[in-house]
């Protein structure tokens, strides 16, 4: 019992919280970036611009089908060849953003496809241009249907930041490892702390998603949108 209390000394808790802060920082930055780029790339892939859409689609497929750890290595070890030397925090943000943007893009594309074509035709019949119809009519509906899928993607993102310990990102996982690496009696308390802290962040995100769903809700509950959720719910 004493060892457990020692593990949760203020010094250790503070160190863990510092790690949690990095986890949250990296998560938030990459969520924002990947949402923006994901929507742009998803739309680009959907609209069938000659060559561009095919190339974008292919690159998205490549990224989606690689393990995230590899993408982290590529950014950390590869980007310097292009003249940019990121520190572990930036490297993680970029790697997560690239990987998750590809995931979000796929969700967005599937989301747009799931909107009945009648919507687009109706909007065009009312005199809107193709892009106007896409932007004002189709995309908002698609995004509403995609919220659960996108949020669960972001939950995966938060969890996946732990993989960046491999390039010594000083995140929650890394800090816990440093603590139990120095005193093995703290192993179980640290795992407990890890589980609780990640769970709190991720579960509150998923509650937020349920709230959003109810709030904006509607749409087709089952069918296409649900399928999309399951496709993308995990990284």
């Amino acid at each position: 019992m004493l060892t457990v209390l020692g593990a949760y000394s203020w010094v250790n808790i503070k160190f863990l919280l510092e790690g949690a802060w990095v986890t949250i920082l990296v998560s938030v930055c990459s969520i924002v970036l990947s949402y923006i780029f994901g929507v742009i790339l998803g739309v680009t892939r959907y609209v069938q611009i000659k060559y561009l859409s095919a190339i974008v689609g292919f690159v998205i497929d490549i990224i989606r089908n690689l393990p995230l750890i590899l993408i982290i290595f590529f950014t950390y070890f590869g980007l310097p060849h292009l003249g940019f030397k990121p520190d572990p925090i930036w490297a993680s943000v970029i790697a997560m953003a690239v990987f998750e943007a590809a995931m979000v893009a796929e969700i967005v594309r599937a989301g747009i496809v799931s909107i009945p074509t009648g919507q687009m035709e109706g909007a065009r019949a009312n005199g809107l241009s193709y892009w106007q119809a896409l932007w004002y009519i189709v995309l908002p509906q698609a995004i509403r249907n995609m919220i659960p899928a996108i949020v669960s993607q972001f939950i995966s993102l938060v969890k996946d930041t732990s993989l960046a310990t491999i390039i010594v990102l000083p995140d929650l996982m890394n800090h816990a490892q440093i603590i139990y690496g120095q005193n093995t009696n703290y192993t179980i308390p640290m795992f407990l702390a890890l589980a609780v802290m990640y769970f709190i962040v991720c579960y509150s995100l998923s509650l937020f998603s349920k709230y959003l769903e109810k709030r904006i809700g509607g749409g087709n509950k089952k069918g296409k949108a649900d399928e999309v959720v399951q496709d993308a719910s995990d990284a």
Binding site: G78, P80, I178, I179, Q182
Partner: protein, 277 residues
Amino acid sequence: MRKILSRVGLVVALLIMVVSLGACSSTSGSKRDVLKDDKQSNTITWGVKADTKLFGLMDVKDNQIKGFEVDLAKAMTKEILGKKGKARFIQVTSQTRMPLLANGNIDAIMATMTITPQRAEQVDFSRSYFDAGQAILVKDGSPIKNVRSLNRKGAVVLGVVGSNSVQNIKKFAPKARVLQLSDYSQALTALKSGQGDALTTDNGILYGMSIENPGYSVVGGTFTKEPYGIATAKGQRPFHNAINHALTKVENSGEYNKLIYKWFHNVKGFDMKGAER
């Protein structure tokens, strides 16, 4: 059919891109002059370990890396850049240090890195700044008394990815199975979890572990010589020379011995006289 062809075309295009990226990677990195850049910014960026007691260990209390190598790097920075020179530390692992140096994220590696001919083809090494030797750490009461008793089927040795010791152990105990973890704290945790019979790396690092973890000891003495060197990127002669020069100065001024005393004087079984310069 057309679709398939365009897909294939894309794959080929991408492969060409990848290969050309790989090709240009080997040429970059050597263009800048590290010493000049560092003098301008008044900062040297060192790659150090953060999971290795005595050499470089993250202090949970204030988030600083502390250890013999960190102190030595600070002293050498002052010799190279003058009293006001700043030393910046970036955490590396055995796995990340070489790519980081090649990419220029760090100027020099001082991270318990043994000078080996194979590595010397990729980086320049300074003179040795610490002479370690490989040893093994086992749980007290373990039947394993030295490296020879590890040479049997079923024995499991733990090491760290990218360290010289995992290469050596294959020569000294070829029958043992080697598991490579990503850093020392992982490897030590694995040893304590019973994932292996012994942990092998350099004696200095193992001493640090045995201090923190009663019930585990270094046994059998050293079976290799592991001179640690400071690695710099190829083609950085001025910086390389400055490092060797600074090392000599730190040794001659007696500061080196002070640091050895500071970090190793209460380590059981450590040969202080042999380490002093």
